[in-house]
């Protein structure tokens, strides 16, 4: 046999009988370590911002200011959570920002007394929360109907829904703000639990639930499977349609709840509530490592994303940057933060 190189047996990978090949102890932990790292990709950026914030203004790290940041982001962070679920399942829901405004808007419309404001006063205040959530469910059902049942393109459907729902809010409110909300509507947004605003508790609890849901339940895993390869998920016996229905409805309900919290904090529902929020929501999710192509990202990552955005805002405010330059600076910081995080956390080109 010509030019046979007798390779020494212990090369690159261990040869041998099938059962002995594989699992070398040395490489074993590379995978999960990397995955966890990616989850923490924004943490360095958050720390840098925190340090900068503290240098800019000594109040930054005080409890008051941190609570301020958390409370301000609590409502929109529910949208981020909702969008994360939908994105992981490989879809997107633009209409969340409209549900965020419409759901409490409808509740206010039917519960606010006819004389004050321009409510109808049809139902007593106790109905406000059920109505809010029902509107959320309804929006989710319509989305799911178009997307899952009729198989239409999710981007277009939810874009259309965004316009319709926003238009409905403008329509029922006549462009005006609802106020004199029933106390059931203002409770969540204004109560303190253990000295900390209830909305912060709700936000943190829901995010914790989200972490558990996506990371430690079969349902969460099926979202990743559907987002990663829907055919494989089907072939693995996952009821993909049902999972998508549940996800889309849950997302809308979360959006409705977030809207309720904002309505409570502001003791009113503006006709434009939620307008433009979807941009921030996508930014937070994507910065936090959630892929627009589905199957990738974690709830914790999304949380760091929205936290980072609001911390940047807060620091810029504390720094007293001239208003007209805030925008440019904000963008530049986001780009830099991303640069740092993603370069340390690995490429994310997709």
């Amino acid at each position: 046999m010509p030019e046979t190189t007798t390779a020494p047996s212990g090369t690159g990978r261990p040869p041998g009988s099938p059962s002995s090949e594989g699992t070398g102890p040395g490489r074993r932990r590379a995978g999960p370590r990397l995955a966890r790292l990616r989850d923490l990709a924004l943490v360095p950026a958050i720390i840098v911002i925190a340090i900068v914030g503290q240098v800019v203004h000594p109040i930054f790290l005080q409890a008051d200011n941190l609570i301020n940041i958390l409370q301000t982001m609590s409502e929109i962070s529910l949208l981020v959570l909702a969008q994360t679920l939908v994105l992981v399942a490989g879809r997107m829901d633009l209409s969340l920002e409209s549900t965020f405004g419409l759901a409490p808007g409808v509740a206010a419309w039917v519960t606010v007394a006819a004389g004050t404001g321009h409510g109808l006063g049809l139902l007593s205040g106790a109905w406000a929360i059920p109505v809010t959530l029902a509107v959320g469910v309804l929006a989710g059902v319509v989305n799911a109907l178009f997307i899952v049942r009729f198989g239409l393109n999710g981007f277009i459907v939810t874009l259309g829904m965004l316009i319709v729902l926003r238009g409905l809010l403008t329509g029922i409110s006549g462009g005006q703000t609802f106020f004199n909300l029933p106390s059931s509507m203002t409770y969540l947004g204004s109560a303190l639990w253990l000295g900390i605003p209830a909305s912060i508790w709700v936000c943190l609890l829901l995010f914790a639930a989200g972490v558990v849901l996506l990371g430690f339940t079969g349902f969460g895993r099926s979202l990743y499977a559907i987002g990663g390869n829907v055919d494989a998920a089907k072939a693995a016996g996952i009821r993909t349609d049902r999972v998508l229905w549940i996800t889309l409805i849950t997302a809308s309900v979360l959006a409705a709840l977030g809207g309720l919290m904002l309505a409570g904090r502001l003791a009113s529902v503006a006709a434009g509530q939620g307008n433009g929020a979807i941009f921030t929501v996508f930014a937070a999710a994507v910065i936090g490592g959630v892929s627009l192509n589905g199957g990738k990202g974690t709830v914790f990552g999304a949380f760091t994303g929205i936290l980072l955005l609001y911390m940047i805002q807060n620091v810029l405010t504390l720094a007293g940057v001239p208003a007209q330059w805030i925008g440019a600076l904000n963008g530049a910081i986001i780009l830099t933060a991303l640069g740092i995080s993603r370069l340390t956390g690995g490429k994310t080109q997709e």
């Binding site: 090369t11 995978g31 499977a225 996952i238």
Partner: protein, 521 residues
């Protein structure tokens, strides 16, 4: 050949019938090393390809063959080492045109762009232009049809490529690579998706081109093909070059030995004991039919029995098998698994009845690429991972480790994303998923596609072992190796079950049956 080489046709001097050339190698790779993170894909490997030869490259899954191909075709640079074409150093990586003059390739991974038409896939980046420099679609279409006609592939070239079957796609890839007019062509597992006649056609064409002095580097896991078409063989093992020799001088046993690093060749298979006739029936399908795909098929499998489902592409065997497992609903007939009827067309229903299956295409229906091995293998058994819908990571990893050990999946650990595995090992993951729920009925559709000889032997051994535990097994395949271990084989032709062959058939009988030829007539 030059007729369909398009605008870029190189002058192809037909060096009439002198395949033994005197000049130096067309391509050489020397001391090439390539690493992916911690994985060493190539470790100081070398290969020398002499002109006019058809050079085989063999090795087990993950031996580094495809990596060498991507380096030889300029898709990625080697970490160390050198590539030379006809003695001259390789062109810069950015200079794609220079690479394409030197080498054409059918990659293992599909390079078909699904949204583009077949014609455009054939002539991508070398469209026929008219006088204005614009693409002349008419002539692109015409030339594409002509090109495919020479391969007897009958498709409308204006259809999007995504509508093609796997086999037709493969032909588009082959036809494209061979139409460049390059003097050196690499084929990375071109036959994995083709049936016998198609392979013969490919080989015929390769022989004709070799007469004209074209050099081939040919990769396949089917060693018979190596003996049939190649004159030199190189074996890679564990990222290294092991041997290069004329094919005639290496008997198959030695070849397998070189690939696996073991002295022993392939094992002789034992004769399976007959399945007792009182064994319970695990699958009883009656009168299954689905339009033109298949009609009126009965299929009955007893516990411990292995039943083959043979047939060519388009015979309906795959669709039938998919109906059995609930991937598609049959239009007529009933499927009964161990006495109860799962809802037709429902995979979850089938799974709860104890059906496990390996789908036809692991990339399509088998794997969720971003998820870990552990997640993929346990995807069908969420209820076993923890209480009340929760998933315990530890339990998941333990189950996955068991399966990794059981199927000898070569991986650093259960957390690795499946994309990090070689093809054969990915196939094992799909198999693991099928076995995860301890199935009473196991349906395997082309279970060994793209898997190396040793792994194939191992996987099939597993199948036998599982049958031994009382599981009924259906293997839908056109690979004779897969069918050989079946107790009986149901042969389908144009949607009908035309024959049933008991174990011990001869290859020509099986082939004839699949072809629809009745030898007894």
């Amino acid at each position: 050949m030059g007729d369909h080489a398009g605008a870029t046709a190189k002058p192809a001097p037909a060096r009439d019938g002198e395949p033994a050339p005197a000049d130096g190698p067309v391509a050489e790779a020397e001391r090439v090393t390539k690493r992916y993170g911690e994985t060493v894909a190539l470790d100081g490997a070398h290969i020398t390809i002499m002109p006019g030869r058809t050079h085989a490259l063999v090795g087990r899954n993950g031996a580094g063959k495809s990596t060498l191909v991507s380096i030889l075709t300029g898709l990625q640079p080697p970490d160390e080492g050198e590539i030379r074409f006809a003695g001259a150093p390789a062109p810069r990586l950015a200079d794609r045109d220079a690479w394409r003059e030197r080498v054409a390739c059918v990659y293992q991974k599909s390079t078909i762009i699904p949204e583009l038409t077949v014609a455009e896939n054939l002539y991508l980046n070398r469209h026929k232009r008219n006088r204005l420099g614009l693409v002349d679609w008419k002539s692109v279409w015409r030339k594409a049809s002509e090109l495919l006609e020479t391969w007897s592939v009958d498709v409308d070239v204006r259809r999007p490529a995504r509508e093609l079957g796997v086999e037709q796609r493969q032909f588009v890839e082959i036809a494209r690579a061979l139409s460049f007019g390059a003097r050196f062509i690499i084929l990375d597992e071109p036959t994995a998706q083709l049936d016998g006649a198609a392979i013969s056609r490919l080989f015929e064409r390769m022989r004709a081109m070799r007469e004209q002095g074209v050099t081939f580097l040919f990769i396949s896991h089917h060693l018979q093909e190596i003996y049939e078409i190649c004159d030199t063989v190189t074996v890679f093992r564990d990222a290294r070059h092991i041997l290069t020799a004329p094919v005639a001088e290496v008997p198959q046993g030695d070849l397998v030995g070189a690939m696996t690093g073991e002295a022993a060749g392939l094992r002789e298979r034992r004769i399976r004991p007959a399945v007792p006739s009182e064994a319970p029936v695990v699958l009883d399908a009656k009168g299954l039919g689905d339009g033109e795909l298949y009609h009126d098929v009965d299929l009955r499998v007893r516990a411990g029995e292995i039943v083959g489902l043979a047939g060519l592409g388009g015979s309906g065997k795959t669709e039938l098998a998919e109906a059995v497992v609930g991937l598609r609903a049959p239009r007529s007939g009933t499927v009964e698994v161990a006495g109860s009827r799962p809802r037709p067309g429902s995979v979850p229903a089938s799974l709860t009845m104890g059906v496990g299956f390996v789908p036809r295409d692991r990339h399509h229906q088998g794997l969720v690429p971003l998820m870990s091995i552990a997640d993929n293998t346990t995807l069908t058994i969420p209820e076993r991972l923890g209480p009340a819908g929760f998933v315990s990571g530890r339990r998941k990893d333990r189950l996955a480790r068991e399966m990794i050990d059981n199927l000898a999946i070569k991986t650093p650990g259960p957390e690795l994303p499946v994309t990090g595995l070689s093809g054969g090992n990915q196939q094992k993951v799909v198999m693991a998923r099928a076995l995860a729920n301890g199935p009473r009925l196991l349906v395997l559709i082309t279970p060994t596609a793209g898997v190396d000889v040793r792994s194939k032997e191992f996987l099939l051994g597993k199948v036998e072992e599982i049958a031994g535990t009382g599981t009924g097994i259906v293997i839908a395949s056109d690979e004779l190796d897969d069918l050989r271990l079946c107790d009986r084989v149901l042969v389908m032709f144009h949607g009908r079950a035309v024959a049933e062959l008991p174990a011990g058939w001869h290859d020509h009988e099986m082939v004839a049956a699949m072809e629809g030829v009745d030898l007894d007539a």
